[in-house]
């Protein structure tokens, strides 16, 4: 069995208005993983998801879900996909149970009350099954949308900005839900512009900007490759220049009698630096370490992609 459950090949999208939303995007999604697609507003995240789900037509390129072409074999492809949209769009006077059963029905799945019951219980919605969606809280509405997306037992779940505009508690709640879905074997792709969201739950990170997919990489390897660390060495005595014996470390002078050392995670020389510092006659008052966040990596990637050298 192929490890990739989704393949996107050279997809381009230009809208009738002339706006080019996607430029030669290619992407693969591994079974059971959580992929976070990061990008600023208007980067093309929603267009990409909409093309995969069949809501928007690509200008060129091919998308296949578990080997099924989304245009020519759309029935087989779409049965494997569940989509949670960015906006809360629920029929206001329909009950939670009815709206979930409707979603299962339009995807052609056989009626299965036991499955819907287990799904609603898993999403803490069973107590509200008879409530009309208009009466639900914001968090419950989001969960109801997830229940609708999972109603036909898809293998891939698309979450388009699942925590846009929600409070911290609800965001954490949503992360737990996504993690729980992973344990049930659901492959998830989520778009977000919240970096901490990607950092918290994703296995791989994709960065999209101005319609181009800049990278897709394992989160751990991305952080290791681009996530520089910094050590600030605060000294007891004043220091005006970087000592000659420590020049090979590329230190910078910092505030408050300190020296700053930047290094990559895969080539640490902190122990040697501390030994040389001591040999040079300096005494440490304190040490502070910092790790470059995913947000800083993301900003740098987007800036360099846009030709901004800052």
């Amino acid at each position: 069995m192929d490890d990739d459950i989704l393949t996107v090949q050279n997809v381009n999208k230009t809208y009738d208005s002339g706006h080019t939303a996607l430029k030669d995007v290619s992407l693969s999604l591994h079974r059971g993983e959580i992929l976070a697609l990061l990008g600023p507003n208007g980067a093309g995240k929603t267009t990409l998801i909409s093309i995969i789900c069949g809501i928007v037509r690509a200008t060129s390129g091919r998308v296949a879900v578990d080997g099924h072409d989304t245009v020519h074999q759309y029935r087989a492809a779409r049965r494997m996909i569940g989509l949670v949209p960015q906006e809360i769009v629920l029929e206001p006077f329909e009950s939670v149970y009815d709206t979930v059963r409707y979603s299962r029905g339009i995807f052609g799945a056989r009626p299965n009350d036991a499955y819907i019951e287990s799904l609603l219980k898993r999403l803490s919605l069973w107590d509200k099954k008879s409530a009309i969606t208009k009466e639900l809280s914001g968090g419950m509405k989001r969960r109801c949308l997830i229940a609708k997306a999972l109603a036909h037992e898809p293998r891939i779940l698309f979450l388009d900005e699942p925590t846009a505009g929600v409070d911290v508690e609800l965001r954490k709640d949503m992360w737990d839900t996504v993690a729980d879905l992973k344990t049930h074997g659901v492959t998830t792709i989520l778009t977000t512009h919240y970096i901490e969201e990607a950092e918290a739950i994703a296995d791989r990170i994709g960065v999209i900007s101005d319609g181009r997919l800049l990278l897709v990489e394992e989160k751990a390897s991305l952080m290791k490759r681009l996530g520089r660390r910094q050590v600030r060495l605060m000294l007891t005595a004043p220091v005006n220049t970087v000592p000659e014996a420590l020049e090979k470390y590329g230190l910078e002078l910092g505030p408050d009698n300190s020296l700053i050392y930047n290094y990559n995670e895969d080539e640490p020389q902190v122990a040697a630096l501390l030994a040389d510092l001591s040999a040079a006659g300096f005494t440490l008052r304190d040490v502070e370490t910092q790790k470059r966040s995913l947000e800083e990596i993301f900003v740098e990637l987007v800036r360099s992609a846009n030709g901004d050298g800052a």
Partner: protein, 253 residues
């Protein structure tokens, strides 16, 4: 065919109708009763007969047509417009449903609802007039065809409309005048020759005429010509719907 999907849409739309059953059924019944009282009893008592039929009975087919045409268009238009308006259309567009299946689901439900209303109006009519139906099977068949045809038309309106104003504009400003001017309350032969010719451009004339024939055995327009015109209207609606889905007009992008 994704018949489960078709059934899900049909059931969903029928449940929406049940949620507003008062508005769906009581309102047309009251309106029709008022027509019977005003046209049938008050004005009709001063009119002898039209084409050999008591005036109160004569207006029944036209009144049923007026109601089901308005209801079919409104129900089908609202059915597809509402998910577009609130954004939940994404779910239908991402489901493994063909365009035909989506159309069957929505149009089938709208046609069923308007058919039920039409039958209720007929039942209401028996309270006011002695109802004569020469060809009950044909009467039912024409009723069903009319419900389907105008539900198809309403479905197009629901996709075309950008807002609620446009959604209501067609039933109010086009359907109602066409029905009133389509011989619902009079015989075409009562008009001067010039206006008789003009009336033939009104598609509702053929429906009312054919429907009245099933009641009283008399038609304003030749039956075969009427059938041809109705078929042409169905073909036109189907062609427009096919074009809408093929191009994604107001549904995708």
């Amino acid at each position: 065919m994704n018949w489960r999907g078709v059934w899900a849409i049909y059931r969903h739309e029928m449940l929406r109708g049940l949620r507003t059953i008062g508005q769906s059924l009581i309102s047309p019944v009251i309106t029709s009763s008022l027509y019977f009282i005003v046209f049938g009893a008050a004005i009709g008592s001063r009119i002898d007969v039209v084409e050999g039929v008591d005036y109160g009975s004569f207006i029944v087919p036209g009144l049923v047509m007026l109601t089901i045409l308005t209801q079919a268009v409104s129900n089908a238009a609202f059915g597809i417009f509402f998910p577009r308006f609130i954004g939940s259309i994404y779910e239908l567009l991402s489901a493994p449903l063909s365009y035909l299946e989506i159309t069957i689901g929505f149009v089938g439900a709208a046609a069923t609802k308007s058919l039920v209303i039409g039958l209720v109006i007929l039942a209401t009519a028996t309270l006011f007039v002695d109802l004569q139906i020469d060809r009950p099977v044909m009467m039912f068949v024409i009723l069903v065809i009319t419900c389907i045809v105008f539900s198809l038309f309403g479905f197009i309106i629901g996709i075309w409309a950008k807002n609620f104003e446009q959604l209501q504009m067609v039933p109010l400003l086009i359907i109602t005048p066409l029905v009133f001017l389509g011989g619902s309350f009079y015989s075409i032969s009562m008009l001067p020759p010039f206006w008789q010719t003009v009336t033939l451009f009104n598609p509702v004339v053929y429906l009312v005429s054919t429907y009245r024939w099933s009641f009283f055995g008399e038609a304003d327009v030749n039956l075969w010509f009427s059938s041809a015109m109705i078929t042409l209207f169905v073909a036109l609606c189907l062609a427009v719907i096919w074009w809408i889905f093929r191009t994604g007009y107001r549904l995708r992008e």
